[in-house]
């Protein structure tokens, strides 16, 4: 797989790594470079001779330098060298590369065996049930306390919230964390950002409080809900689903998955990467989340605009979106062809139908088109042939406008019920991701 220079730039952990990598992107710094179907490699002369290798199948990389940044400047330099020159010729992998690939395969095998063993391991059902019951009780107490807290807010009036310090929200969030309801804690923390955030903040605050109240109400009547919707409510509260359970029991779809786009947010010291994927045969949309602390790399490199031939296992939900990659067979650098697109009215009615199935749905990816961009309105709009328009979220989308040139395109984005966040578009028959937001 060959990466574009934009995709390589998107891999860099920070600007200084990318700049350092660019300096190493010329042949003078490299020796013994080569590539095969499985790997790309080279030796870079720095303060020592560093061996750099890239697994092209799973897109993983390794360098013998002591840098803690991943990918390091040597990996970036090798990728840039390969992408922009013909210096890296096809060759048989040397022993140090073959040994690394073999070790990776062995590690993957052992991991799979370990996971299988963990699943097969007899469970102490009694202890497990006891822990589960303790958690249920703790969560119920936390939810009840949250309900009282929300009632107090409404009794006193939202107008008074402008005078509340940040600690007011943080303390309630902390109580929920202590009650093992981390999902609710995150939502309470987000409420603090709404205060005085615009003229209509009381309406938005009330809407969020209302949805939170519906969630706690649903939790208290969980048995009355469908199992799939129960999973959603539990996820909102803060229960997580073990990734091994997802693989073992979740629904698995095989397809060629186009990575529509990506965003990375910092939540305290935790970085959360959201990847929106679209199954090119099934039309199924998926959200793959990855987490990393501090400067640690994410487990898998998912590059916007590439196509991953693999299997996704979906988390249980009334409207399954969240998934994890369980098998990755190949990766193509770009998508060329046609994307099935819907009109704006279909987008809105589709979202309404989705809300009917999962009322707490926050967003849904879609490909709309053909649409033209209207840059002279506030906010910008995507307009289809029927005269309907959808607001575009985020800052002015100048690069999108430059790529579209005012012509109709198929536009991929994430609809949140009020606006569409663009992820990419089909430009002259090729999918172009707009660029990950970090």
């Amino acid at each position: 797989m060959e990466l574009s220079l934009e995709q390589i730039s998107a891999l860099a952990p920070d600007a200084s790594s990318l700049a350092a990598g660019k300096k190493l992107g010329s042949p003078k710094d490299w020796r013994s470079c080569g590539q095969s179907e499985l790997a790309l490699w080279g030796e870079c002369q720095g303060s020592a001779l560093y061996q750099v290798k890239v697994d092209l199948g799973a897109f993983a990389y390794n360098c013998s330098c002591p840098s803690r940044k991943l990918p390091c400047k040597h990996v970036l330099g090798l990728l840039l060298l390969s992408a922009s020159t013909s210096h890296v010729a096809a060759a048989a992998a040397p022993e140090w590369v073959a040994a690394w690939l073999a070790k990776r395969a062995e590690t993957a095998q052992k991991k799979e065996e370990k996971q299988q063993a963990a699943q097969d391991k007899p469970v102490d059902a009694a202890a497990q049930a006891k822990r589960a019951a303790r958690r249920e009780s703790s969560v119920h107490d936390g939810v009840a306390q949250l309900d009282l807290w929300m009632n107090d807010l409404v009794r006193a009036g939202l107008a008074g919230l402008e005078r509340k310090p940040l600690a007011f929200w943080q303390e309630q969030a902390k109580r929920l964390v202590d009650a093992q309801a981390k999902g609710l804690a995150r939502r309470v923390e987000r409420l603090s950002e709404l205060v005085s955030s615009g003229r209509d903040w009381p309406a938005r605050m009330l809407a969020e409080l209302g949805r939170l109240a519906l969630a706690t109400e649903a939790f208290q009547h969980l048995d009355a809900l469908d199992p799939a919707l129960q999973a959603d409510v539990r996820q909102i509260i803060g229960w997580t689903v073990d990734s091994a359970d997802v693989q073992a029991r979740g629904d698995i779809t095989s397809d060629r998955w186009l990575a529509l786009g990506q965003s990375v947010q910092e939540e305290e010291r935790l970085r959360v990467e959201r990847n929106w994927l679209l199954g090119l045969s099934t039309g199924r949309a998926a959200l793959v989340l990855q987490f990393a602390f501090g400067k640690q790399p994410f487990e898998t490199a998912i590059l916007p605009g590439t196509v991953i031939d693999g299997d996704l296992a979906f988390y249980p939900s009334a409207l399954a979106q969240r998934a994890q990659i369980v098998a990755r067979r190949a990766c193509e650098q770009r998508f060329s062809g046609q994307l099935a697109a819907i009109s704006i009215d279909e987008l809105l009615s589709g979202f309404a139908a989705a809300l009917a199935v999962q009322p707490w749905l926050e967003s849904l990816p879609a490909v709309i088109g053909p649409v033209r961009i209207a840059p002279q309105s506030t906010p910008w709009l995507a307009c289809d042939n029927s005269g309907a328009a959808a607001p575009l979220a985020g800052s002015p989308h100048w690069t999108l406008l430059a790529l579209c040139a005012g012509k109709p395109v198929e536009l991929a984005g994430v609809w949140d019920g009020a606006a569409l966040t663009p992820l990419g578009a089909m430009i002259d028959g090729n999918y172009v991701a707009i660029g990950s937001k970090r």
Partner: protein, 539 residues
């Protein structure tokens, strides 16, 4: 939902919730059997918000702009685009590299790809930078620029028709509403197409413009004034701003046979006379022939006791700068405004001979400075080289009181003379014994870039010789290393291979690491320039 919001803002303690069941949300909540007013309000709000979201209708599309015209030129390839992306993101100190890259694109008839247009349009407000980038934006870039007021520089580059047709409505808009730099540039272009119209435009607004605007707009006429500009310039000569008067004075002096130039020639003649050489005997003539010296007379300087009023009215300032006598100051101002050719004709001497004669007078510094100013104003190449050679040969170790400021003058002279002449002089300097006495970076900055291949190799020979043989801690070495940033940008492609030689082994010592780092940075810039050429033009 609005009703619920109002209740929530005030608080249920102050305002009981209504029992209205006209919203589906309330009915649903009633079925949930919530009893507390707060809980009912919250649940109703939750349901209502979901209803509202689900029931959202599409906005109506506004009128859409016309799509961009097809690109008439080829977009650069991905390797070149990556390099351009890197340059667009660099600090302003790397501006010359970006300008060079744009010029390479232009030469190859290529333009920036759409993905880079936003960054290109957001570049800092530097005239040379914007001028270079503007030319490689293509139709798509100019189309994109219409949607952002900050990007009008990309469109308002005064596209005045090459014919004598009236300016377009867009040009009128720029003239009436644009910023001063755009207006000045526009006026300059109209001046080239229809000078009379340009004069009329300026005359119409002259009394309403501020002094700095008058100076900037007058520049359209002071660059290459003609006799038709005399009335406008004489109006400016009476301006209340000294800067405007000064600009007008210089412009009028350069117009052949203008009344002011004739007055200045007369005044200069009253202060500076030429005395023919004494007719010596045959012996003296033979001596001169043997020594190879021409018969050169002498210059006689006679300064007025007071500054005449008519001189003041023509822009001659009475008060001198610090360090110069006032009468010498009048001499400098007047002689600066006389074409140096006049002295060639008056004396039948070459420029070098006149300069040499001036150096023998008691007002040598004033006279030579005046000749330098005149050479610059009237673009007299032989005078530029003559004064420059005099400076390079005679510069004292320290500037004397009232002496010529060669540090600032030499670069101006080098910049103004043809590149080949300037390079020849610097090449002689580099080959000479005392390069450490000169501010080499400033002198090198003054010559046109890129350097010629010959000069590039001259420079490199000098540099590598110093790098290998001179103590890197010496001031001579420091001056040499300080030229590296300029060399990185000025060396021509034919010199890249010689410049990218391995550094001397001695630089690996830890005490020399600073110099090695400077050389490494220089070589990285050269490699980048090489990669740019390979990516853009394949050469």
């Amino acid at each position: 939902m609005q009703h619920l919001v109002e209740q929530a803002i005030v608080g249920t303690a102050r305002l009981p919730t209504s029992q209205s069941a006209d919203h589906p949300a309330i009915a649903l909540v009633d079925r949930a059997a919530a009893t507390a007013a707060e809980r009912r309000l919250l649940l109703a709000a939750g349901v209502a918000s979901i209803y509202e979201t689900a029931g959202r209708l599409a906005t109506t599309a506004p009128e859409l702009p016309e799509p961009a015209a097809p690109q008439s030129q080829v977009e650069c390839n991905s390797s070149a685009a990556a390099l351009m992306d890197d340059l667009l993101g660099r600090a302003i100190v790397d501006q010359p590299l970006l300008v060079e890259a744009c010029e390479l694109l232009l030469e190859a008839r290529q333009i920036l790809p759409p993905a880079l247009l936003f960054r290109a349009l957001e570049i800092p407000n530097r005239k040379e930078l914007r001028a270079a980038v503007r030319r490689v934006l293509g139709e798509r870039g100019r189309w994109l620029a219409q949607f952002n007021d900050n990007w009008q520089w990309a469109r308002h580059h005064a596209e005045v028709a090459e014919t004598a047709e009236p300016p377009s409505a867009e040009a009128e808009t720029v003239w009436q509403e644009g910023e001063l730099p755009a207006r000045a540039e526009l006026l300059g272009k109209i001046r080239q197409q229809d000078a009379a119209r340009a004069r009329r435009w300026l005359a119409d607004v002259w009394n309403t413009e501020k002094a700095d605007a008058r100076v900037a707009l007058l520049a359209a006429f002071t660059a290459m004034p003609t006799a038709d500009d005399i009335p406008l310039l004489e109006l400016a000569l009476k301006d209340r701003s000294a800067a405007v008067r000064s600009a007008a004075t210089v412009a009028l002096a350069t117009i052949k046979d203008s009344p002011l130039s004739a007055r200045m020639v007369e005044r200069a003649g009253s202060m500076l006379a030429y005395q023919e050489p004494a007719k010596g005997g045959v012996g003296l003539a033979l001596k001169r022939m043997v020594r190879g010296k021409a018969s050169v007379g002498s210059l006689v300087v006679a300064l007025p006791a007071e500054l005449p009023q008519d001189w003041r009215l023509d822009g001659i300032e009475a008060k001198p700068p610090q360090g110069r006598g006032e009468r010498a100051h009048w001499l400098v101002q007047v002689v600066s405004l006389v074409s140096p050719e006049h002295w060639n004709q008056r004396t039948s001497l070459s420029a070098a001979e006149v300069v040499e004669a001036a150096s023998q007078t008691e007002h040598s510094a004033a006279l030579i400075e005046a000749f330098a100013n005149a050479a610059l104003t009237f673009h007299a190449t032989d005078w530029l080289t003559a004064v420059c050679d005099h400076g390079l040969a005679h510069v004292p170790a320290k500037r004397e009181p009232g002496g010529i400021d060669w540090v600032n003058l030499l670069p101006r002279l080098l910049s103004a003379m043809p590149a080949a002449d300037a390079e020849q002089r610097l090449a002689r300097l580099l080959a000479g014994p005392a390069t450490h006495a000169w501010d080499l970076p400033t002198l090198l900055q003054a010559i046109a870039t890129p350097w010629s291949e010959a000069f590039g190799h001259n420079y490199l020979r000098w540099f590598w010789k110093l790098a290998k043989n001179v103590d890197v801690r010496s001031s001579e070495a420091q001056r040499a290393w300080s030229t590296l940033p300029q060399a990185a940008l000025a060396l021509p492609p034919a010199c890249f291979a010689a410049a990218l030689s391995e550094p001397p082994a001695a630089l690996e010592e830890s005490s020399h690491r600073y110099w090695l780092n400077e050389l490494t940075k220089c070589q990285e810039t050269l490699r980048l320039r090489k990669r740019l050429r390979e990516a853009i033009s394949g050469s």
